[in-house]
């Protein structure tokens, strides 16, 4: 190695470059609401990056942009997906769905599922969607439900009537049932007790251990310090100027 050689930068799993997002509210007379401008960030495999900042800073919006749930006006959102690099900002709907099936996991704050489907099937579904056998998918789902302390008598019930904390744990189980290479977490411990918070920290550590790239919002400073390798501070655009 020559003296001034630099070690190669680790390949990113997720790279956000020059990202700009604003909402134009036509129903409110065309008010334009800037949310992000010129946002850059990279997350490497095995790394957990935390987004931090006041309410309204655009943290959740950024996660939704990466997931393809919000449309970007500027910049790119590159995700390494099965050996290729896909730009979520310009990908077709079909490509985004493929990305979500295999590469991008997202634990949101709301559980949106077909009513009347039992919790165990709700959790096993993402695993089935990547082609796992029914037995394997159910086994993984059961393991996660146990670890997240969902009582076994609830497994066969649809989660619509579950408590906020239970629904959040169903969401978490869905997010961890597949070994997604990129995982987006929006306040995953917000409604959880101390024991379950520790379980989530352990799940995150295991995901990092297998090389997943995580981008998350952790309102709880203790959780953030425990799981995050880096913290990115975000501010609402009005204050940013």
């Amino acid at each position: 190695m020559s003296p001034n050689a630099v070690p190669p930068a680790p390949e990113f799993a997720l790279a956000v470059t020059g990202l700009g997002k604003q909402f134009t509210l036509h129903v409110q007379g065309g008010v334009v609401l800037p949310v992000l401008s010129g946002m850059n960030l990279e997350v490497a495999p095995g790394e957990c990056v935390a987004l931090n900042g006041p309410s309204g800073a655009g943290k959740s919006s950024l996660l939704r942009l990466v997931y393809g749930n919000y449309r970007a006006q500027k910049g790119s959102i590159r995700v390494r997906h099965r050996g290729q690099v896909v730009d979520v900002a310009t990908a077709t709907p079909q490509k985004i769905l493929e990305l979500r099936r295999h590469t991008l996991g997202y634990v949101s704050q709301f559980l949106r599922v077909i009513p009347r489907v039992p919790a165990i099937d709700v959790v096993a579904e993402p695993a089935r969607a990547v082609g796992m056998s029914l037995a394997e998918a159910e086994h993984r789902a059961e393991r996660l439900l146990s670890r997240l302390r969902i009582p076994e008598r609830l497994w066969s019930l649809p989660p619509a009537t579950f408590s906020g904390g239970e629904q959040q744990r169903i969401n978490l189980a869905r997010g961890f049932v597949v070994d997604f290479p990129v995982l987006l977490l929006d306040e995953p411990t917000a409604a959880l007790d101390a024991d379950n918070r520790r379980t989530v920290m352990a799940l995150i550590a295991e995901a990092k251990g297998r090389g997943a790239a995580l981008l998350g919002i952790f309102h709880d400073a203790e959780v953030r310090e425990a799981v995050a390798d880096r913290v990115i501070a975000m501010r609402p655009p009005a204050m940013a100027a």
Binding site: L25, V27, N69, R71, L97, A129
Partner: protein, 259 residues
């Protein structure tokens, strides 16, 4: 989900009713295994578009190119009438907004379902009846209603019977106009689960018209939003509902409690 060619390629589809516009210049591709939702206010042209797509109504302009199994992509309006009829029987299902349009009211529930199987060549009576019973069960119609006439059924039951009749013959493509509109929420949920499973397991493709944005969210991969006969916005379902770009879509989403 990605095959080499789309199952349906729609270009410039336009249908007028005299001076009034039914639908105007609609273009899109539908891929195998994909569910496309069409939403929009009453009178926006959803049913007109669905009827043109499914060859129930002749458009004034435009093309509907369907990837046939044996001859590749063909414009359905350029096919001979018998050929088109055959295609509709073997490859497609059509679930009408009003169930009586899609059912034969003069024959029993079981015959309504079994007839579809016979149309695609089934001959064994025992097996046809077993299939009919199975499908009545899947749409939650009690087994002992199999020999009853449709006129003894409620509106919601008629809709479920219509759905069973259309799915029993394993179509590749199903057109549905407000399939869950007349159902109570519990049966609606069961049906959503059933459709979801068919799409995931069998690669069924669906074009579904619905005014219910919650149904659209759970069922459709992609959405098209119609207004006054035209498509004003289209895209990934959750993107259209959570980050609508067009003023009309924003209004539509804002008018709903929990889309």
């Amino acid at each position: 989900m990605m095959a080499a060619t789309p199952l349906l390629q729609v270009r410039g589809l336009t249908r007028r009713y005299g001076a009034r516009i039914g639908c105007r210049d609609v273009s899109f591709d539908l891929w195998p295994g994909e569910v496309l939702g069409i939403v929009g206010e009453s009178g926006s042209g959803k049913t007109t578009l669905l009827k043109c797509l499914s060859a129930q109504l002749e458009p004034d302009a435009g093309q509907v190119v369907y990837a046939t199994r044996d001859e590749g992509p063909r414009d359905i309006f350029a096919l001979s009438e018998p050929r088109r009829r055959l295609l509709m029987r073997t490859d497609w299902g059509i679930v009408h907004q009003h169930p009586v349009e899609g059912l034969r009211m003069g024959v029993s529930a079981g015959a309504n379902v079994g007839e579809r199987l016979m149309a695609v060549g089934a001959r064994n009576y025992g097996r046809i009846r077993a299939s009919a019973l199975d499908w009545l069960g899947r749409v939650e119609i009690a087994r002992d209603r199999i020999d009853d006439m449709p006129r003894t059924f409620s509106g919601g039951m008629l809709q479920r019977l219509q759905i069973a009749r259309n799915l029993v013959s394993s179509p590749r493509l199903v057109f549905m106009d407000e399939p869950t509109g007349s159902l109570d929420v519990s049966v609606q949920a069961r049906l959503l689960d059933l459709l979801h499973g068919l799409v995931a397991d069998l690669g069924l493709s669906v074009v579904v018209v619905t005014h219910d944005l919650a149904v659209a969210r759970l069922l459709a991969h992609r959405l098209m939003v119609m207004r006054a006969g035209s498509v004003v916005e289209e895209g990934l379902t959750d993107q259209v509902l959570d980050d609508p770009q067009h003023a009309y879509t924003q209004l539509l989403v804002a008018s709903i409690l929990h889309p």
